[in-house]
Amino acid sequence: MITNTNTNTEILTRFVMSLADDSLVLGQRLTELCSSAPYLEEDLAISNVALDYIGRASMFYKYAAELTGEGSTEDSLAFFRDERQYTNLLINELPNGDFAFTLLKQYYIDVFNCLYLEQLSQSSDQTLSAIALKTLKESRYHLKRSIPWIRQLAGGTEESLHRLELAIEELHSFIGEMFVMSDWETQLSNDGIAVDRASLQSLWEEQVSTLFKECALNYSQTEIKIKGGRDGIHTEHLGHLLTELQFIQRSHPGLEW
């Protein structure tokens, strides 16, 4: 196959950046719970998950900065790109909502990331496969943490079940996008670098529907309703998140701790 090296670097950079954006946006979202989780132990635990994601973002941005060159750094990529330049999947930017929503969202993402990183660890790109191997352990732990929470909320009180059911309904629209590939990602996946997210859908559905069945929760088939994250089209929530994340660096560029 004849490939254009320049184009490939450009697409690879875009891909690495999208993985960085997924992690940073979710990490930033979860840090909002630091000091406001339901109780101290959960506060520490969920902030710990947030930190895992910030660390993951840092690894991906460093690699993206290396590929971009031109003096870009992990910080310049995180703090000086606008909403439309962010290409995270939409589920990562959704507000935390109540505890059931936060944990269900996290559970969906954890199942997805375990499957995704397992595949990414086979990537022909050495850096990506190394990051995937390292972060897979974190995501497996996150999943181990979120599964009992779904059981707990489903089998808890009438109120907890009700809130979980509302969260299931509300999140349903954002599941489909996780398994829709952009053209540029498909090209990279054909080259053995990226992961074909579409191929993960049946495995994801199998795992989630099994847990739902065990918990007597209604599982409805995935539909593609809202998408656009990978192409920079976002919900109204990302702008606010980025404002909070970026304002210090935007007001005082280059400020250091």
Partner: protein, 95 residues
Amino acid sequence: MNQEKLAVYEVFVRSARGLDHIHVGSLHAESPDHALMYARDVYIRRSEGVSIWVVEQTNITASKEEDIAQFVEPMDDKDYRHATHFVLPDEVNNM
């Protein structure tokens, strides 16, 4: 969420292979599984340990402050329970 409804678990951490589990503190949790994960996040996230035990506090049978008189004091005047009470013959000096 009502923290008063959560059970209290005591946490024991083994800091390295071959050492004993040592009591490090306690925490609230919904279930033993949660307690174990919280213990991981609270007590060993800076690699302070290789193994964790969590025990629901109500499962521990403990001595009481008022038992001290019967439990401990009778031992105080029985020196012969300590090896140092006995004078060893020179021949076994290095025991």
